[in-house]
Symmetry: C2
């Protein structure tokens, strides 16, 4: 936990409790899902609260007030939460933050309902910060869902690096860009600053996702991380796969295609792919990609009117995100 | 088609085309789902456009303008459409308006994405009519989803009439109430009129849903209607079931409970239930319920400042809805 994330945890947790109050069956599922209920490992299930913390941090740094930006921050975290609820149904992921996913406990239909409710609550909450904030957030939701759809379509074929980046800018980048821009909007900054904030967000999103993809192959698979090879089993065209496929040829490429076209990927296949990627230098290449996007984010941050302390904190947070091990 | 529905079809269809423009895979699914694409039986798949027509009709009758109310009307129709997309996934309904449901053609995960996108587009579109309109619409979405969740929970047990009505006021009533209130909001009527509009909407919603439930048992099962007994097969606690269960006793009630607790309901069970309901006078009782809520709607409409022609048109529309055969 960096100081930046630590600082905003209190108001964000209160804001989430306020947005998810009530005693219907669905709202109780939402509190469980975001980690506000007592079941399971408690506060560790609340997650890093990364996106809403970025909203509040940027708003404060650029002259806004936490209380004015809080509805936007909470709206964004609820959007992120709703997407995870539906993702888990779509991907049949059974574990979320170390606990059974909502659909495992309450069934698929109710998990879809819970996500739909969370989506509506998210936009209603954001509305309290004004129409511009809702428009920014809802536009990000549209991009995120389009990215989700591309990610799904890519399970059926290999893709180029440009296609991959286009998908990631939507699936992951949209909410990071939104976080930085919501902070700026709530502080009332002019359009050129909003544009730079958007650049920072997209670069952070790319770095974050590429690191996530890295961990999907070389992660340590502990209780809060992805199991090793999990991305291979579901045929996700993650960054290592994009790089590895482009670098492969002949029999190796043929085998790669056969594995990704087959119904069942076994442990031997996963081991072979990991070994192939090592041989082709994919690991280094992915690390370079993550580094390049971190650098891009850093250069854009230099153009923002942040305090010196703020700049240091933000750079340290980004450094942590792109070097994280789970 | 009544004159009221006919009148607003043009602007609503244009508004839907505008909201669902673009060439991504998901937006194409949305155009198919609402019946704007050429595939299948074409315009008949566009549906009655009942809810958005009510928004525009009420707005005009109360002194507003179509063009000002159109974003609210389109937002509401898109909300209705997104709920149908997810409903079909949840209920495994394979046919929607005479064509394969979206999840049958594009898979469950993509149908969930399509619904999520439609939800976000709905609220973005409504935002063009102002923050109050978004708040009204998003609040209706929350109620609708809670009703959806109750409907699902009721599959596991028998319920009282009060519980049934509470569920219907959310699942179906929320969007009808919203239609009337959005029309009023866009015309800028004062709060007491908004309250009466809400009463009309809830009463229409109850009558509409009870007639729907009637058709779920005694419908003729043609290509656009529900198959006979379909509601029984999925253990839905529809109005006839609520009435029939309350009126039953002894061995008949035991058999009713056994059937609704069993995994598979066969044709013989359905026939027995339909015959039991006839014997217990459920058919007449349901028709009376529909009539009572139509009367309630009529009395509330009398308190609205509508034109004489407008009153006649609205009453005729409601009459048609609560006597419809499919």
């Amino acid at each position: 936990m960096t100081p930046l994330l630590d600082r905003y945890r209190g108001p964000i947790e209160s804001g989430l409790r306020e947005a998810l109050r009530g005693e219907t069956a669905l709202v109780r599922i939402l509190r469980y899902h975001v980690g506000l209920s007592d079941e399971g490992p408690g506060t560790s299930a609340l997650g890093k609260l990364l996106r809403p913390s970025l909203v509040l941090f940027i708003a404060e740094e650029l002259g806004g007030r936490i209380e004015d930006a809080l509805p936007a921050a909470i709206g964004l975290e609820l959007v992120h939460g709703f997407s995870l609820l539906h993702d888990d149904v779509q991907d049949r992921d059974e574990v979320r933050r170390g606990r059974p996913a909502a659909w495992v406990r309450w069934g698929e239909a109710e998990a879809i309902n819970a996500g739909d409710l969370m989506h509506a609550i998210a936009l209603r909450t954001a509305l309290r910060a004004g129409g511009d904030v809702v428009e920014t957030l809802a536009a990000a939701v549209c991009d995120m869902i389009e990215g989700q759809s591309l990610d799904l379509a890519f399970e059926g074929r290999f893709v180029t690096e440009a296609e991959y980046v286009g998908m990631v800018d939507r699936k992951t980048g949209a909410l990071f860009r939104c976080a930085f821009q919501l902070g700026g909007r709530c502080a009332g900054v002019p359009d050129p600053v909003l544009a730079t904030l958007g650049e920072v967000g997209l670069a952070v999103g790319r770095g974050f996702q590429m690191q996530d993809d890295f961990l999907g192959i070389w992660g340590n698979g502990d209780e809060f991380g992805k199991p090793i090879g999990s991305d291979v089993r579901r045929r996700k065209k993650t960054y290592p796969v994009v790089i590895g496929y482009a670098a492969s040829s002949g029999e190796e490429r043929d085998r790669l295609e056969r594995i990704y076209a087959s119904e069942n990927v076994d442990a031997e296949d996963v081991d072979w792919i990991v070994a192939l990627f090592e041989r082709l230098g994919v690991r280094e290449c992915v690390a370079e990609g993550v580094g390049a996007h971190s650098d891009r984010a850093r250069r854009a941050i230099d153009r923002l009117p942040l305090s010196d302390d703020g700049t240091r904190e933000l750079l340290s947070l980004i450094e942590g995100l792109t070097r994280r091990k789970k």
